[in-house]
Symmetry: C2
Subunit: 422 residues, 2 copies
């Protein structure tokens, strides 16, 4: 190990600790952490993959099982509001995304909702034959765009968001981008891009998976047409929690969705032969939703009660700033590079660090109770969920990272094997 | 009330009771009832809408929450087998449907799975341009057929199953029928219809919603191509439990599914730009599944352990026979008519009774703790879930029905209003 690779003097750590503790003591949303069940000895920086469990969930689920399903049985569709869940949980979600009432519907997976949204978007622009997606988007966004393109006879173009201006033209039916890049954490300008797409006469579809519940999204104000996102990241709805779709009120009348399940019918219990979509957001329903998973999400969303998105955003930025500063000041010597934009307005709620042996480092950290994740080929992705993460947690995680790099602990053979699911 | 409308002498009831008790005492699968949590004072004849709760579910869910999600967090995808759930729960389901290993995948809703299956079925027969469904099928089956037909440029024909022979020709791409009619309980001949469809060179898609878990289905032996079904009826997986899709091994190689979510990719964690479906049944995966709901279904299916489908079927037929006999002998005087086929080989696990004021009668029964359901315009639908229903339950339910009809209790004003969800 070269002399450069020595850790900085440990004397500075108490000062960092004191600063982190002050930041936590003055954190206006510190109370929200008490709403989560967090395992001892773990610093969880993967809330952007699977949010931690809100403490309200087990009681809600116990009630859902013993009383609602077990005792009330089929009558719960009326008596316990099961039928209303997609719209009512959708309303909880919409309130966190700047969406007025009646525009968000909860259900199915993000992949399914993307299929719905992209098909409806393209159908809303007959005569136009190009669908634009981003070649850096999460794979499902690209796969679904290709499938919709094939079904509807559209050309699918992969365009980087900063090249969008030159790509938009009268052939463009719809554009689908992720508001936050799942690897780098780059945050796009939702309002400006939506406006540019509209100027070209096309439909804008936002994937909010890595934004919803972590930063301000203003769907109505940005005049977005359609958006989708998931329930299990910053919304903390549990593994595979139902996703959601936003349909702007002005876009709803002609909305032509391909998954015409009976729950979306205007009179589902008339059991008619021909599909007639509901006039309301209920038309975005498909089949019977996974009620237990949706009740977990419903309970989970109460962890946002009394937390303003502005305060959430301030804390998120302070936490990502803390990671970036630590990496810049103390980890550059280990060839750690910050890949997330430094400008706050372009940064989501995660930091991607590029470094040698990123897979091994991520696993060595997990062995120390610091859970982030690895994205091939060389990114360590650290997500900050501002509802439950503290500044002292981030500090300890970064110190653990520094210790791993300084000691070379990640080069031990047990960290060289890739787990089945990463 | 005419003299004809008087109840038969109550003296005969003890004899009926004794016979029912004997039948229960000699029931070889009576032990399975102990595996369910059933509310006191309720006779539940709606297991064909929502199965009762297996007693194993609450403990499984508590573990899923506290240990798997709460403590193990993201590592549960590997460490607790979340990633494997769609295939492993699919295998549990397949074993109950005569499907060899690796052909059933659990996930999403029946509507979504129907969309997958019908699209893939039609694509497997290029050049053929007709999709056949049944105008008496559950609405979602028809709505999805219409949507797939529109996307692929196919004509959708509504054909009654007994008219299928004349309708099949060289234009037929695929046929989609429900094995059991959701209203009448009529059971089709799965093997013969599949063979006829194959003779015409078309693909057979079965909807097993009202059959799976209640009677023998032999998907492999019948040489079915594709099938779908739900997890919340006779499988007792909980409200909105995930559905399933069966893809015959011989049909899988070219299977061209439209919902190309990343979980179905051959290398999902390579995060590639282009979709390449998995070679295995995993290609039927879409997005991240609702893990909590799927774990409930996984636990629920253990209620079938050690129960042969043949024994289940014998009990189911005995229970429906009991309903039919009671209706014939004692309720014809109230204009109650049995609409379910009397031939056992054409009967599912429910009985539909046609009668005046069926809605009001169904609600008067619910007020007495007998839960069946109403299907417009004039059917009272009584489902028998043979895992947990006893002969004494059926007897008490039929006696309650007789008492309601004899007394006219259903004509009280409170039963004239239709509930929001029926």
């Amino acid at each position: 190990m070269s002399s450069e690779a020595r850790p900085v003097p440990s004397a500075s750590r108490p000062a960092l600790r004191a600063a982190a503790e002050v930041a936590d003591q003055t954190d206006p949303i510190a109370f929200a952490r008490q709403r989560f069940t967090l395992p001892a000895g773990v610093i969880y920086l993967d809330g952007n993959s699977l949010g931690a469990m809100p403490a309200a969930v087990p009681a809600a689920m116990a009630d859902a099982l013993a009383r609602q399903w077990g005792a009330d049985l089929i009558t719960s569709w009326n008596g316990n509001g099961w039928w209303q869940l997609p719209a009512s949980v959708g309303a909880q979600i919409g309130a966190l995304l700047g969406a007025g009432a009646g525009q968000v519907l909860c259900g199915d997976s993000t992949s399914v909702q993307l299929f719905q949204a992209l098909t409806a978007a393209a159908r809303a622009r007959p005569g136009r034959d190009v669908l634009i997606t981003d070649g850096s988007s999460f794979p499902t966004d690209q796969y679904i765009a290709d499938s919709v393109g094939r079904l509807l006879g559209l050309e699918v173009r992969r365009i980087e968001p900063d090249q969008l201006g030159a790509a938009l033209d009268e052939r463009t039916a719809a554009v689908s981008f992720s508001l936050v890049d799942y690897r780098t954490g780059e945050l796009l300008d939702g309002e400006a891009i939506t406006a540019a797409v509209h100027r070209a006469g096309a439909v804008m579809v936002w994937d909010l998976c890595h934004a919803a519940g972590a930063l301000p999204v203003a769907l109505d104000a940005w005049q977005v047409d359609l958006a989708v996102g998931c329930g299990y990241k910053y919304f903390n709805g549990g593994p595979g929690a139902p996703a959601f779709i936003y349909v702007a009120e002005g876009f709803r009348a002609g909305l032509d969705l391909p998954l015409t399940g009976w729950h979306g019918h205007q009179s589902p219990f008339a059991l008619e032969q021909r599909y007639q979509p509901a006039a309301t957001i209920e038309r975005a329903r498909i089949g019977t939703p996974p009620v237990l998973s949706m009740l977990a999400l419903q309970a989970a969303l109460t962890a946002f009660d009394g937390v303003s998105i502005a305060a959430l955003r301030r804390k998120s930025l302070a936490l990502t700033e803390q990671i970036i500063a630590y990496a810049d000041e103390r980890l550059a010597r280990y060839d750690v590079r910050v890949r997330t934009p430094r400008a706050p307005e372009r940064r989501g709620s995660q930091v991607a660090l590029q470094l040698p042996h990123a897979l091994e480092v991520s696993q060595a950290l997990i062995a120390r109770g610091v859970i982030g994740d690895f994205r091939a080929p060389d990114l360590l992705r650290l997500g900050v969920a501002p509802l439950y993460l503290r500044h002292v947690d981030v500090l300890e995680a970064m110190q653990a990272l520094e210790d791993v790099l300084a000691s070379g602990a990640h080069l031990a053979p047990e960290f060289a094997q890739r787990p089945a699911v990463t």
